[in-house]
């Protein structure tokens, strides 16, 4: 126990820990705030995992072809949107089950990315670090918040933009109504499934960007296993956050910190079985959901299809 506390203390005073925690949290946050929009409209969008990976591969490909990080990110977003288009149209234009579609898309993306990756083998390099003068000199949190590669900073405008979209625009109001009570929204003259499709596109955009940031802002390479369930953890962050923007951000921070713990511990010389460390974020996610899924009020029509004339 003393050892454990000592290790935690060492981790908490290590500035590399804060930097990696911030990166990994930001990564989850991209995917999670997008997922939040989809869920507020009533879709438990499990294909966010596939969008994430699709975005990652597409941005690697984009960079490989153009040599530009900006274009790489744009292609990454397109990769996320492609999966979003499939999910949106299959589950909210046709009434195919959203989980079945999402799951199949996840499998498809893994296969496709593996197939194309082994054929193309894209060469990628991470974007340059952009240190914000003065601010990045703050001890511990300075490098974490202001000493990252520039794509990571995109999270700063994205989160308020999502908040604005959900709470300050008519579109957001309609999205929230559609996720709560599609029948009422329909009677009020709102095109329920159109709003749901659009919200899935927002999710695809954000998750595609997450993939791009992962490849071009964090690692500088692509691997099929790299996303490894982070899309699902993003869903858990939304649940943890009680379907609010602030809560989702908090959830992403929590899981990002847990994720970085397992990378930081070995680098500080602590010998922990890597398998147990790898399981930690998932166990934490489940444990946290057991507390928060029960308490928070989910959008009432979450995961329920809407077909006019049916309940």
């Amino acid at each position: 126990m003393g050892d454990f506390l000592g290790a935690v203390g060492d981790v908490l005073t290590s500035s590399t820990f804060y930097a990696s925690a911030a990166r990994l949290s930001a990564l989850l946050m991209f995917a999670a705030v997008g997922e939040l929009v989809a869920e507020r409209a009533g879709t438990l969008n499990i294909s966010v995992e596939g969008m994430f990976l699709s975005g990652a591969f597409a941005s690697a490909l984009g960079y490989h072809l153009t040599g530009s990080v900006v274009l790489g990110l744009v292609v990454g977003i397109a990769g996320g949107l492609l999966i979003a288009a499939l999910q949106a149209n299959l589950s909210h234009r046709l009434p195919a089950d959203q989980f079945v579609v999402g799951l199949t898309l996840n499998v498809l993306v893994v296969g496709l990315a593996a197939f194309l990756d082994s054929n193309i083998k894209p060469v990628v390099e991470a974007a340059s670090v952009l240190e914000i003068p003065l601010l990045s000199d703050i001890p511990l949190i300075g490098p974490a918040l202001f000493g990252q590669t520039w794509p990571v900073y995109l999270i700063y405008p994205l989160v308020p933009a999502i908040g604005w979209l959900l709470y300050r625009t008519r579109w957001g109001l309609e999205v929230r109504a559609v996720g709560e009570n599609p029948q009422s929204a329909d009677v009020s003259g709102i095109h329920v499934n159109k709003r749901r499709r659009q919200s899935i596109y927002v999710s695809g955009l954000a998750a595609g960007l997450a993939g791009g940031v992962f490849v071009l802002g964090l690692i500088g390479s692509f691997d099929v296993g790299m996303v490894g369930g982070r899309g699902f953890v993003a869903i858990a962050a939304v649940i943890f956050g009680g379907w609010t923007v602030k809560g989702t951000v908090a959830g992403s921070l929590l899981f990002g910190v847990a994720d970085s713990f397992r990378f930081t511990l070995p680098s500080l010389g602590y010998q922990v079985n890597p398998n147990l460390l790898a399981a930690m974020p998932y166990i934490l996610t489940l444990a946290v959901m057991m507390f928060f899924a029960y308490r928070s009020r989910q959008p009432r029509a979450l995961a329920q299809p809407f077909i006019r004339g049916l309940r």
Binding site: V107, I235, A236, N275, L276, A293, G309
Partner: protein, 379 residues
């Protein structure tokens, strides 16, 4: 529910003439399926062409590898057995209205438990074999039941929990394989870097069946029997009746005496147990040379799930679908000669599933629209 304000003195839907439309409707169905399957295969062919391969070669390699070359259809049968077990288990949860998508992990837990019984416990071979199969089923069942408990007790969506538990299962198996005191092979001759369990002793393996120059393990019979049994249980018994009730309307089921938490947990455990059994059958049937490895499950859980999706909640339909996917798996081993990456098979599988999702959805919309137009208003 809305109030039906349409006069119901006459029931139009009862007298809807169907005969003149029948032929046209069948035509629609055929065209729809043809189009979407054609599209899926077309995209796959385009991918093959994109990487410089020939789809004709790919096709014939898969057919040869899975069927026509000597001894290959036996391999296909052996591959299909675990797929079928996973799929029929999944169908039980689907019918109960639950979404279990953690079969990959449940299967791995089953294989792990079976490996423990087969390699670490002593006893007569047949007893150990049965013990390994039972332990596999029990481990998979418990793993899935945990997700059900979290759902009913703490409202954690099982869609997420079953998935996250896949990753935990991988870590757990990896951990167990990291130490000789646990599951790592104790054989001093073990190559230094190989992370595997000990080999399943020869008397604890599933008996091999030889037929017309093909051989396959007897797990095939277990899978087939399980599929038939579940088809019967789901279709003909009071239990199956209640499961369907629960899946379609949990509140009506609760009123009629079906406890959602208990029946749902049972369904989830059944599904997990069959996935676990699939893992045990794979281990004792010779996958990875009768040794547990960290990546032992090798996507069989995911593909079994896809088989279930294709079979659309019918345990009987799962049999041919499992054979199709099993064939694709064995056939993909012959792709090396064509220069096309075998991962193309994963893509084809997923595209096929997507393609087969579309026609029923389209037909459902049409059928429902017709019925609604006949009876109800738009609200």
């Amino acid at each position: 529910m809305t109030v039906d304000e349409t006069p119901i003195l006459v029931d139009p839907e009862v007298t809807t003439p169907v005969t003149p439309h029948r032929r046209r409707e069948w035509g629609e169905v055929v065209i729809l399926y043809g189009l979407s399957i054609g599209l899926a295969l077309g995209i796959s062919a385009a991918l093959v062409a994109f990487t410089g391969g020939s789809w004709r070669e790919v096709f014939s390699a898969i057919v040869e590898g899975s069927l026509t070359r000597p001894g290959r259809w036996g391999k296909t049968l052996a591959q299909s057995a675990p797929l079928l077990l996973v799929a029929v288990g999944t169908i039980v949860t689907t019918r109960s209205g639950l979404v279990n998508i953690g079969q990959e992990g449940q299967l791995l837990m089953g294989a792990t438990a079976a490996a423990f019984v087969a390699t670490r416990l002593g006893g007569p071979g047949p007893v150990l074999l049965v013990g390994a199969l039972v332990a596999g089923a029990a481990a998979g069942g418990l793993w899935a039941a945990l997700a059900a408990l979290m759902r009913y007790w703490r409202k954690v969506p099982e869609v997420i929990s079953t998935l996250l538990m896949v990753f935990i299962a991988f870590s757990l198996t990896g951990y167990l394989l990291s130490s000789k005191s646990l599951l790592l092979d104790r054989d001093p001759a073990r190559a230094n870097r190989s992370v595997t369990s000990g080999q399943v002793p020869s008397d604890v393996r599933l008996p091999t069946i030889r037929l017309f120059g093909n051989e396959f393990h007897s797990g095939v019979l277990i899978a087939l029997a399980t599929a038939l049994l579940l088809a019967y249980l789901l279709g003909r018994t009071v239990w199956g009746f209640r499961v369907r009730m629960l899946g379609h309307n949990p509140r009506a089921a609760q009123r009629a005496g079906v406890d959602e938490a208990r029946s749902g947990t049972l369904a989830m455990a059944t599904s997990g147990a069959l996935s676990g059994l699939a893992g045990a059958v794979m281990l004792t049937g010779g996958v990875a040379n009768y040794r547990l490895t960290p990546g032992f499950s090798n996507n069989v859980g995911w593909e079994g799930l896809l088989v279930a999706l294709l079979a659309r909640a019918s345990a009987l339909l799962a049999i041919p679908m499992a054979l199709l996917f099993g064939g694709l798996r064995t056939g993909s081993g012959f792709l090396a000669s064509t220069g096309v990456e075998r991962k193309i098979v994963d893509v084809v599988q997923a595209l096929l599933v997507l393609a087969l999702l579309v026609p029923p959805a389209v037909l459902y919309v049409r059928q429902r629209r017709r019925a609604l137009a006949a009876t109800r208003d738009r609200t």
